[in-house]
């Protein structure tokens, strides 16, 4: 394909096309930085190309969507098409996290880095097995020891967390104070 043409000046359309190709083949959300390094284009052009591609997908109501996730870009199917896609892939919705795991994950996401005793303080219940599950699912990672009595391990969310929950970055999470309005 176009790979042979090194450093050649690409037209906007060509840049959009090659950006689309790279996002398509990437296993993980591909960052603007990587795209700009590989294509030897400045970040602004990359950003513009990605935006153009995104608009194009939306404009023609494509079955695919371009999503910004975990600091990168990803091509995925449109939400509304899930029935047919699932029928073809013969998959069922995967096992959901338990309520305890979700709560623990919420505490970790908002309070990170956070220790087990701190999680217990908020949830009022042991979270050991939930933490184990979350570690196994790679949704959380250890973030070193806290320099306090007993040097407890601290936990934080992982990149996998952003990917699985469809988040651009942690700042995309609604503020924890916003949930206060829901209380009462």
């Amino acid at each position: 394909m176009e790979a042979v043409r090194e450093k050649a000046t690409r037209s906007t359309a060509e840049l959009v096309a090659v950006v689309e190709a790279l996002i398509f083949v990437s296993d993980e959300p591909i960052t603007a930085k990587v795209l700009s390094e590989i294509l030897e284009e400045d970040k602004e052009s990359i950003q513009a190309a990605v935006e153009a591609l995104k608009d194009e997908y939306e404009g023609r109501e494509s079955g695919l969507q371009l999503r910004e996730i975990a600091g990168g870009w990803q091509i995925a199917t449109r939400t509304e098409l899930h029935d047919d896609v699932r029928k073809f892939l013969k998959t069922r919705p995967s096992a959901k996290l338990s309520l305890a795991s979700l709560e623990t994950l919420a505490v970790i996401a908002y309070k990170q880095p956070v220790t087990v005793p701190e999680i217990l303080e908020i949830r009022g219940v042991q979270s050991a097995s939930a933490i184990k599950t979350l570690l196994e699912k790679r949704l959380i990672v250890t973030k070193g020891h806290k320099e306090t009595v007993g040097r407890p391990m601290q936990y934080g969310t992982s990149k996998e967390f952003l990917i699985q929950f469809g988040l651009k970055d942690l700042s995309e999470l609604p503020s924890i104070e916003d949930f206060e309005d829901l209380v009462q």
Binding site: H82, K96, G166
Partner: protein, 256 residues
Amino acid sequence: MQEHTEQYSFDFHRETAEIVAESRDELSIKIGEFAGPLDLLLFLIRQEQANIFDIPIAKITDEYLKYIRLMKSLDIAVAADFLVMAATLIEIKSKMLLPREPSESENEEIEDPRQELVDRLLEYEKFKSAAQMLYERTTVEEAIFERGQIESDENNAEISATVFDLITVFQKILARQKEEIQMEIHREEISLADMIRNLKRRIFQDSEVSLLNFFGEMHTKRELVTAFMAVLEIVRTESVKLLQKTTFGDIVLRRV
């Protein structure tokens, strides 16, 4: 359901059905359990339609204890944390029953014994809502599919080896064996049973044995054949897996 639970004015199963009907908390419905003592407490307060800032502590404590008793009768392991909360509730209840000393109440404002619990409940409820938000996000995310993985050597480190791969490795070794100058040294021939025993011991010691190395240690054709048969036998009878990391690469015996 056992008869005696009826006296508690609710039946666990029927009650759960009512939770479905009444509560807007989808999470509890779906999972049908309480994530912890604070969760149960919030549910009871809501069920009583009580004000969280003015919890009818006697009534809620009673309800809480009933629930715990019920969980016991249903053979659910009542976690220590639920009991700690029960103790806390009883403590607050008893504090509230104590008459205040008039001298104190005049000078300084006495803190409501419920205050700490209310603070914890409010803090907890925020994270409960956050968990609900995460739950909703997973539901949306589950409807979105990315492209399946493109197969490459990198993301497919373990190609399961077939008998043919096994034979190929064996032939490689045989060929290598041919090249070496054979010296006739009479050593005692190892029996198949011994070979199997040796190989088994190695697999269980090292948990992983490279076939190239294993075959490489054999000195005669006869030993090699015995070794090869031992591998076949072990794969057939033991919980051992054959793994090949790259196409045409070494094959590894691994304990499952």
